[in-house]
Symmetry: C2
Subunit: 497 residues, 2 copies
Amino acid sequence: MAQAQRITPRAQDFSEWYNDVIMQAELADYSPVRGCMVIRPLGYRIWELMQRALDDMFAATGHRNAYFPVFIPMSFLAKEAEHVEGFAKEVALVTHTRLKATGKTGAGAVAVDPSSALDEPLVVRPTSETIIYAMFAKWIQSYRDLPLLLNQWCNVVRWELRTRLFLRTTEFLWQEGHTAHATEGEAEAEARLILGIYRNFAEEWMAMPVLTGVKTDSEKFAGALRTYAMEALMQDNKGLQAGTTHNLGQNFAKAFEVKYQTAAGALEHVWNTSWGVSTRLVGGLIMTHSDDNGLIAPPKLAPVQAVIVPIWKTDQERSQVSGVGDQVKAALSKAGIRVELDLRDNLKPGAKYFEWEAKGVPLRLEIGPRDVAAGQVVAARRTGGKSPMRLEGIVAAAPAALQEIQAGLFATAKQRREEHSLRGATKQQFLEFMKGSGGFAYAGFCGGGECEAAIKAATGATIRVLPDPEFRSPEAPKTCLWCDEPSVAEAVWAQAY
Amino acid sequence: MAQAQRITPRAQDFSEWYNDVIMQAELADYSPVRGCMVIRPLGYRIWELMQRALDDMFAATGHRNAYFPVFIPMSFLAKEAEHVEGFAKEVALVTHTRLKATGKTGAGAVAVDPSSALDEPLVVRPTSETIIYAMFAKWIQSYRDLPLLLNQWCNVVRWELRTRLFLRTTEFLWQEGHTAHATEGEAEAEARLILGIYRNFAEEWMAMPVLTGVKTDSEKFAGALRTYAMEALMQDNKGLQAGTTHNLGQNFAKAFEVKYQTAAGALEHVWNTSWGVSTRLVGGLIMTHSDDNGLIAPPKLAPVQAVIVPIWKTDQERSQVSGVGDQVKAALSKAGIRVELDLRDNLKPGAKYFEWEAKGVPLRLEIGPRDVAAGQVVAARRTGGKSPMRLEGIVAAAPAALQEIQAGLFATAKQRREEHSLRGATKQQFLEFMKGSGGFAYAGFCGGGECEAAIKAATGATIRVLPDPEFRSPEAPKTCLWCDEPSVAEAVWAQAY
């Protein structure tokens, strides 16, 4: 396919670097449709591996998958006032259902048939609260029907003006969980449970450390009572909102009349939650770990975890090293490792190394004739370092190396985050921090939207979360970073994607 | 949830029966959006099991998953003349991207903002040949890039006037494979390979016997050179097109300039195929096997393969039978069986039987106190028959029973199909057959579209396929069923969904 090209170094232009990594690794591509991306096989495989891991966690906690229509009647969106206001400026609207011939040929051969106008326009779902809770109203009658714990994997559309591969696209793929509960407490526990699952997934699978906490009103989901989020710090020291869970209270239940009969016979509105992560996570994975040679995929989510590259000069050597390569592949494959054997004749080993590095394969096993003679391979880690690995015992050594790489990626990312976290800063230090390298700044917050707005105007930084207890500074800040009034909560600020 | 209701018997009204089975089993529901369905957890789980099985087969034959935009520029659709003609009357068109406030509150609070009109309307994909081959043109340069074998799982929209749950809905879920090859022969082999995979899946997993063959021009895909299909016979003796593969020739390659350089250095257009199966298969599964008590799920695709129903009167008995139930569940689960233990206190065993029968569970294991004493359970098959099963050895006996049920469903369906197949009929016999019970009629065909049209007008029957050799009658028909001119091929006719 496309010829290998140099990747712009991170230090030169982080944004260009990010795009280069994606294009060079063939993770995704721009499409002819404004703001929509094409997810290529390697990128899609990462998403599938993410889906599998998350789906297992959702199932283990009693959630079941379903599928709701991609179209939402315009009037449904309007029923929850904050919700429609939040999405009104970024919806794709279906208004007609037929094309008619224009008499021309080729690209201009058809036009919208005006006689096919819909009575009520349909919105391509930007999120599915309204259509799903309309169905919940039909399905839920009694307390015995609760909790109702559903999830769907689907595409959603938000008409974005400034798009970026994986991070912000007009169409993206995601999961959206939607649940109904008998009490406020149960809904709150659900929103918290899922936040924990998200964090566990981010840290254990993506090797991406996150902060969790609650959003301020200015950043919460349109229609929610409270929004929780997990936030990660990218290599350019910008924050990435990586997943959110919402306690929706009874807002949608009231708009869509979702009621249930209690054991005592009373009729009450249910309490809802919704929560989602999206293909944006693939962008987070890239920006957390990759380097100037391309993608670095954490082993647990790497489409190819190990690649075997045999090295030969003569046909006889080729036969010998590829024979050993076959055996290693079979053995590692049997051990559950996603492994490839690169026997291409039209590329030299160096070119293969270059390509597999760009594609983020964590472990490369080189086999030359002398390695065969010595009963070993040379194991090169994508994160650096090369050492012999005995053929005998390779089915234990290779997984162990992958585990070390996974753990190392998490440790490195966490250390980097902490090195770019500022605690207890004065206003002046904060301004310098945000003007300089940036990162997560922990500071006191008076709770006022004016201070949030002023800080955003001055620095571009927003409150990512009011952090959960385990992330808070040992000593609670006493005053607001900006106005010096008493602090009501510690906040974490960052410039963000 | 909804109270159990009687299912309309098949003999009384097949169409009502079909809807009742779906509603009673909670497989799907009608949505507030015209023509769109909601797939509920049980129905979606069947689809997920189908996906898993098919996806493994696609991967084993070298196909990789990707994802392309849901929106297709109107001009793209227009580039292949037959293609746009085929879809022009059934497209959802996105024309605007913002809502504006009307000043009202509630459902009428917003309207389409006319200032947000798109320069070029977007079509919600009815199928993705055009957008995918536009990307292929970018990715394919040399013979080394071929074959390119991609697949995507996604939603598609075709604006249908008469919809039916699973069988024909405005939005449906499917997979669409898209491949590019260096030669016509390779594209033809690919279309045939996938047809074989589809048939294997239908017969081995769905227990649904199918005929395969080629479509006549009047039934082929808009833009294809040749369309292959697999066709099944439902219990009402109507045909169901269950999957199609298309040899697209160079039609789209020419429209989208998809060219490659041969090893010799020449520049040639690629040869494409596309192929798909959809959530329609769930409808086929239902109409092949189910009965007047509800769904019958073939074990390989049953979300719940075995349900354990303990029977008790006293608390002591409950403790005893549920203890054994737990052990059986753990043992079967470990053996890879999808098993549920129904310990609900608010339902009597009879009500549980009724519910699990409606939901199609192939094997029910009843455990009463006397069964525990005798070291057995009573195994009731959804397809009929009840017999004791020893607790000792149940991890072998239960899977064996499921295999027998799977094989029995296929045999029954095949026998039924053959009983409703008519071979070598005269015109008169054919007319009576189509007026009567209907089914698959094998007859000679002159190859003329006039005869096809006349037969359709007279009987409603269409040519489902010109069958592959293994399905043809021992003696080739000599004359056309309708016009008595020489037959060019045997055809299989049926009234169809």
